[in-house]
């Protein structure tokens, strides 16, 4: 049985997806249009396409991740690819030596697509130079996580119709966040107004040069926002010289129902997950009517299908 889905032809002249900064607004729109079609498909009973039949996709994760890895796995399988997961525990990794050795090993297996997550910025790009297939960056250090930004954009666009002119407030640990960097890049490219909200210890130097407004208190930062994106604050960063305590952090940067009232009444609440309930976000809000957090997960599969599809169109013998 064949399934039909609207897969528009798009311009996507890239062999890899390494970061948002390589994409033009036109290409981003194209990927989102393509993903829209996959959202519809994913809601049907029969979800399987044969677009990637015969193709091999390897998910190579140097950093543990349940949701991103399963999202990519599902995306590949729904497009008909053979998907293999490789988790390389960071403890067993003898630094980058294994990265390049692994690249050479994988290359010899003739994969068509490799999805890589690594704890070091630039690692995915390094690997991409050593293999003959297409590489998707599933997160490299504090650098980029392009499919997360794309799925966030898709979620927003489906609710608001456009990204143009929206005020998007990104709140939390921007310093260590690849999600923030990719989102800042994408949202600026699409004409949104981006704010970041964080204590100065969790903001990278010269962040304003990336085209954002900086706020040091969530109350002022989310005023009249159309979208509030909360970032995860890792537990080990909650004590010490970056943030003194969870209590103080939540007071100034945590999102609860009362603070959310300062944003626009129809503001969307987003979180890339996994959430620290009670640290950066209150459960009332996370599960409330304005939250689109679960929808983000759904959009994740569709966006990753779009990315894999777009890249596969440029593969040899496509």
């Amino acid at each position: 049985m064949t399934v039909s889905v609207d897969t528009p032809s798009i311009a996507f002249p890239h062999r890899h997806l390494l970061g948002i900064d390589q994409l033009s607004p036109f290409e981003i729109e194209g990927l989102l249009d393509l993903a829209d079609g996959f959202v519809a498909l994913n809601r049907q009973v029969e979800k399987k396409l044969s677009t990637l039949r015969g193709r091999t996709q390897i998910n190579l994760f140097f950093e543990a991740s349940t949701r991103t890895q399963s999202s990519f796995e599902l995306a590949g399988k729904r497009l008909g690819a053979d998907v293999m997961n490789m988790s390389v525990g960071s403890s067993s990794v003898k630094k980058g030596e294994t990265l390049l050795d692994t690249a050479v090993t994988l290359h010899a297996m003739h994969p068509d697509l490799i999805v890589v997550r690594h704890h070091s910025a630039g690692a995915v790009e390094l690997l991409a130079k050593k293999v003959g297939c297409s590489v998707v960056n599933a997160g490299d250090g504090a650098h980029e996580h392009p499919t997360q930004a794309l799925l966030d954009a898709l979620t927003i666009r489906r609710h608001k119709g456009t990204l143009q002119g929206l005020v998007v407030a990104i709140c939390g640990d921007v310093l260590h966040s690849r999600v923030a960097r990719s989102n800042i890049g994408l949202l600026n490219a699409m004409g949104a107004r981006v704010r970041v909200i964080a204590p100065s210890t969790l903001l990278p130097t010269a962040i304003d040069r990336l085209g954002v407004e900086v706020f040091r208190d969530i109350r002022s930062g989310i005023e009249n926002a159309d979208v509030v994106m909360m970032l995860r604050l890792q537990r080990e960063r909650m004590q010490g010289a970056l943030v003194p305590s969870v209590r103080e952090y939540f007071h100034y940067f945590g999102l609860d129902a009362e603070k959310l009232k300062l944003a626009k009444p129809d503001a969307l609440v987003m979180h890339p997950g996994p959430m620290n309930r009670g640290v950066e976000i209150d459960s009332d809000v996370a599960d409330g009517p304005q939250s689109v957090i679960r929808e983000q997960v759904e959009m994740g599969v569709a966006v990753r299908m779009a990315v894999l599809d777009a890249l596969a169109r440029n593969l040899p013998n496509a």
């Binding site: 980058g96 990265l99 790009e125 504090a142």
Partner: protein, 460 residues
């Protein structure tokens, strides 16, 4: 340095026992070499003029405008050096060779070939070897090794603290007598201010030079590049300029207290220069160096995570680079070093944050420095001063000058010859150059150590 702060048992310039291959050369019978029509650049005599040079029996025999094609003895190798430069050979104060302990990266022999090809006639080797150069036997060993294998002169710096651990000081007196030209903790800063104070105080009694890499490890933290917009965009942890300025300020204050001779090995931040200038104006016995990389490259050269430009101190902003160039031109920064640091594939082919610091540089040092001459930022005589004459003076070496009687460590260079850095053609055993495929202008035609030609461009 000021006389008040000097109290020495060993006078700088005292002829210490000289070892190394060049002494072999002095015993060999080599034909005299004569240059005429050359641009003679000799910072020691403040000379930059047309003239000739005669080398005989391993020494400079004569120099000056009076030397013409007929001034040289029969049998001499006579060169019409029209349009090219004759200058004292370079003295590179910061060379990591890898021998002993890391011979797969570089041996003294392979480093010396790179040095000869780059116009470096004296390499000052860092003590960061395995074992560390921290006792008389090791100083002796390295010099003996060099005598047997090196094309150029080699003098070691010894460890300032035992095992480079930053706590107990080494035998500064005995090590000086054995041939160590200065004392340093190499790549590792001394964090304990009390240790630094005592080292400076003790070293003063021997007029020994302390060479330090001022960079606060806590402020560096997990940083891997200059902190700024670029590090934010790349998602890499930054190193603020204050990692350098904070420790430099501490060191300079301690020099004021203790009085020993202090040399900041390589500065990277423009903000360090005000502190340095103030200390020099106060008459403190302080000097500073800069790596050729920080003079000719900036943070943007990291591009897409190029680990060959991952350095310590890091490449900083263009404003910092401009500041360093100006400070070099006016003499505030005394010397230029290559910071030659061979690293191989296992340590460099990693994601940026996980790769080792360091770049090779012996062979490209002079050519890269000439960029500053061609851009009209630094006069040629000042470059040679920073690359040869001042290091000689600071280290108490006899070279760095073209005066008659001095050792014939001389380079003949074409300051304009264009060439492209070809990785395969480099002599170093490791190929981690930040200047891969770079366009250079200016090339050494001949390198002479103790009167013998150790590199000749024409023979390639």
């Amino acid at each position: 340095m000021s006389e008040e702060t000097k109290s020495s048992n060993v006078k700088p310039g005292d002829v210490k026992p000289v070892w190394g291959a060049p002494e072999r050369f002095e015993r060999e019978r080599v034909a005299p070499i004569g240059f005429y029509n050359a641009r003679i650049v000799d910072p020691a005599a403040d000379r930059d003029e047309r003239g000739g040079l005669l080398i005989q029996a391993g020494k400079i025999a004569d120099v000056g405008a009076h030397l013409g094609p007929d001034s040289f003895p029969a049998g001499a190798d006579v060169i019409d050096a029209r349009g090219s430069v004759v200058a004292p050979g370079l003295i590179d104060m910061r060379v990591f060779t890898g021998e002993p302990g890391f011979e797969h990266r570089e041996t003294i022999a392979s480093a010396s070939r790179a040095a000869a090809a780059g116009g470096v006639t004296t390499m000052i080797c860092m003590p960061d070897t395995d074992p560390v150069i921290e006792d008389v036997a090791m100083v002796d060993y390295v010099q003996r090794l060099a005598r047997g294998t090196s094309l150029v002169r080699v003098r070691p710096m010894a460890a300032l603290t035992r095992g480079l651990q930053g706590s107990a000081i080494t035998e500064i007196g005995l090590l000086s007598a054995a041939g160590a030209v200065a004392f340093t903790n190499g790549r590792r800063p001394i964090t304990n201010a009390q240790t630094m104070r005592r080292a400076l105080t003790y070293a003063r009694d021997f007029d020994a030079l302390i060479v330090h890499h001022p960079e606060d490890p806590d402020l560096v933290g997990e940083g891997v590049m200059h902190e700024g917009e670029m590090s934010t965009r790349l998602g890499l942890t930054g190193i603020p300029a204050e990692a350098e300025t904070v420790m430099l300020s501490r060191d300079l204050k301690l020099v004021g207290l203790a009085g020993g001779r202090y040399h900041a090995a390589q500065l990277s931040a423009a903000r360090s220069l005000t502190t340095l200038r103030r200390a020099k104006e106060r008459g403190l016995p302080v000097t500073a160096g800069v790596s050729i990389n920080n003079l000719t490259l900036n943070e943007n050269d990291i591009g897409a995570y190029r680990t060959f430009v991952k350095l310590s101190p890091p490449l900083r902003s263009e404003e910092d680079r401009r500041g360093l160039v100006e400070a070099l031109a006016d003499g505030l920064i005394d010397v230029i070093v290559s910071s030659h640091d061979p690293q191989d594939v296992e340590t460099k082919r990693h994601p940026f944050a996980e790769a080792e610091n360091g770049a090779i540089g012996l062979e490209t040092l002079l050519a890269a420095a000439l960029r500053l001459y061609h851009s009209d930022d630094v006069p040629l005589i000042r470059l040679i001063d920073a690359l040869s004459t001042r290091p000689a003076r600071m280290l108490g070496l006899n070279g760095g000058s073209l005066q008659p009687g001095r050792p014939a460590d001389v380079i003949h260079l074409d300051a304009d010859m264009p060439w492209i850095v070809d990785l395969g053609a480099l002599s170093s055993r490791s190929k981690n150059t930040p200047f891969e495929d770079a366009r250079m202008q200016g090339r050494v035609l001949r390198t002479i150590v103790a009167g013998r030609t150790v590199y000749d461009y024409r023979s390639l």
